[in-house]
């Protein structure tokens, strides 16, 4: 008697991502792409960071970071000062090539929007993208909480945070051993930590520090400014959190490519993923 094949072995299409998740994911991708590029343009208008309330060219005692340029006109040197240490960043930060000429600006033209110095346009696009991020983020958070997905899929369980479990997942990642089959329907602990860190940590942090740079919102909500210890501290934390998001973005893209871009991207577009089968 020929036995019927087990249903687990047959490839099947399963719903991996709810349409709201896909919509907000790509909305966020668009918003963050423009927020980072316009943010780097905005930073170029005053490439220094301070702690506290005040800080300017005439008040540098609490400055902790500066991007600048020096050296000869023929071969200018770009640098980043962090505390007392100077790092040579010629060609990328402080000064970079645009065509055949040197571009004296914190971030290179290919990384900023607009590509040239344009604080007015960069700001208005930054704020429009920030609205998109906020509205999107609230929709996603509302869905994640109401559907239970936040607890089930994003926030790591206590047992997953046990050192042995964490270590196991780190080793699997280092071996580029990514889950296939049924296991691909769940996030592993490092993935959960990364997604929870970005969605519940870094993104709320950039939004709150961004709001704390607004004189109107600081008057409306005095705690915003107090939370970070002043507008200049908020600006510093904004920059650090945005750098964290940029780091996540790079890691996220690399891992999507390593883990199988067709499957991952396909699932985030169509919502469906093929499970089982020959693999």
């Amino acid at each position: 008697m020929a036995s019927a094949p087990s249903p687990q072995i047959l490839p099947r299409r399963v719903l991996r991502h709810h349409w709201l998740v896909r919509l907000t994911h790509w909305g966020n991708a668009l918003a963050i792409f423009f927020l980072l590029m316009t943010g780097m343009n905005i930073f170029g208008a005053h490439p220094r960071l301070y702690w506290g309330h005040g800080g300017s060219l005439d008040q540098v005692e609490r400055q902790w970071l500066e991007v600048g340029v020096g050296g000869m006109m023929a071969a200018p040197k770009g640098w980043v000062d962090i505390g007392d240490r100077r790092f040579d960043t010629s060609g990328v930060l402080g000064v970079s090539k645009r065509g055949t000429s040197w571009n004296i600006v914190a971030f290179p033209h290919w990384a900023t929007f607009p590509s040239g110095r344009d604080l007015a346009t960069a700001r208005s696009w930054h704020f429009a993208a920030a609205w998109l991020l906020i509205v999107n983020g609230l929709i996603w958070l509302g869905y994640a909480i109401l559907s239970g997905r936040l607890w089930r899929e994003i926030i790591p369980k206590a047992r997953e945070l046990a050192p042995a479990h964490l270590w196991h997942d780190i080793v699997q990642h280092l071996r580029l051993n990514f889950p296939k089959g049924e296991a691909a329907l769940r996030y592993e602990v490092l993935q959960k930590l990364a997604y929870a860190g970005v969605t519940l940590g870094l993104i709320p942090m950039v939004i709150l520090t961004g709001m704390a740079m607004s004189p109107g919102l600081n008057a409306a909500f005095p705690f915003l400014d107090a939370l970070w210890g002043g507008r200049q501290s908020a600006r510093s934390v904004h920059f650090i959190a945005a750098s964290g998001i940029a780091g996540f973005l790079i890691l996220h893209l690399v891992l999507v490519v390593l883990a199988g871009p067709i499957r991952g991207l396909g699932a985030m577009i169509t919502g469906r993923m093929t499970i089982g089968g020959t693999k």
Partner: protein, 257 residues
């Protein structure tokens, strides 16, 4: 099919980067979307923080040097003549949609109730400085003049021709500095016509003899070298019609953000 779609998706951001996204900034549809975001910011801030007060600081928080920005010394001969005379001949003209036009000397302003506040000046470029300002609440002057029906904005005409700075987006054409606010900010208790910074009369770099302080907005709204105040129903007749020197050059008119 799936492969082709994937290639397309991969090519999209790469194409955007290669061609440069700059053309997006001049696309009319996208410009109107971005403009809607600006309106949303203004309405949202008016909704949640109409009467909020800007934080006031302690004397120990005052910045050792209050950075100067924009015009350091107007080249306008009229302003220079007034400065040479210690601003004794300076008059602030208040007009437009008012019941009584006013012409106020520094002595007139000194006789009015004063307000002193230690606030943080937040520049659009990103820096901040804390200073103590003393001046006359704008609201009391507007009440003395009496706004007529239809007045929606207060416009501030300044003495300086400003040429702009390359750091704010290329060299800007030189023209007379001006600014404007809505009536919510005009009558806000912290909105003052300041004549002192840190107990000293304003110097040329900080806007002598009088500058506007509108504490819930960015630095470029704090118009210096005030000459005339107008109550108006529309911003269209001034400059390029956007309500200020920098708003005419692409910056938000409502600079609470």
């Amino acid at each position: 099919m799936i492969l082709r779609r994937r290639n397309l998706l991969a090519a999209l951001p790469a194409g955007l980067l290669l061609s440069g996204c700059d053309s997006l900034a001049s696309n009319p549809t996208l410009k109107s979307i971005v403009g809607a975001g600006e309106q949303a910011t203004y309405r949202w801030q008016r909704l949640v923080g109409r009467d909020g007060l800007a934080r006031e600081f302690a004397a120990s928080d005052i910045s050792p040097v209050f950075k100067m920005n924009g015009t350091r010394r107007p080249t306008n001969p009229e302003w220079q003549r007034l400065e040479a005379g210690g601003f004794a001949d300076w008059r602030l003209k208040v007009g437009g949609l008012v019941q009584r036009e006013l012409s106020l000397s520094l002595a007139d302003l000194a006789r009015l109730p004063q307000r002193t506040q230690i606030t943080r000046h937040d520049c659009v470029e990103g820096w901040s400085a804390v200073g103590q300002w003393t001046g006359v609440p704008l609201g009391s002057i507007l009440k003395a003049a009496g706004l007529r029906d239809g007045a929606r904005y207060i416009v501030f005409l300044c003495a300086d021709d400003y040429g702009g700075e390359a750091s704010k987006g290329g060299l800007q054409s030189a023209s007379r500095y001006y600014e404007s606010v809505d009536l919510v900010d005009a009558f806000h208790p912290q909105t003052i016509l300041a004549h002192q910074l840190n107990h000293q009369p304003l110097d040329a770099g900080h806007g002598a003899p009088i500058r506007l302080r509108v504490e819930r907005q960015l630095g470029y709204k704090q118009a210096k070298y005030l000459m005339q105040i107008l109550a108006v129903d529309s911003l269209a007749p001034f400059g390029s019609g956007k309500g200020g020197y920098w708003p005419d050059r692409g910056y938000e008119w409502y600079a609470g953000i």
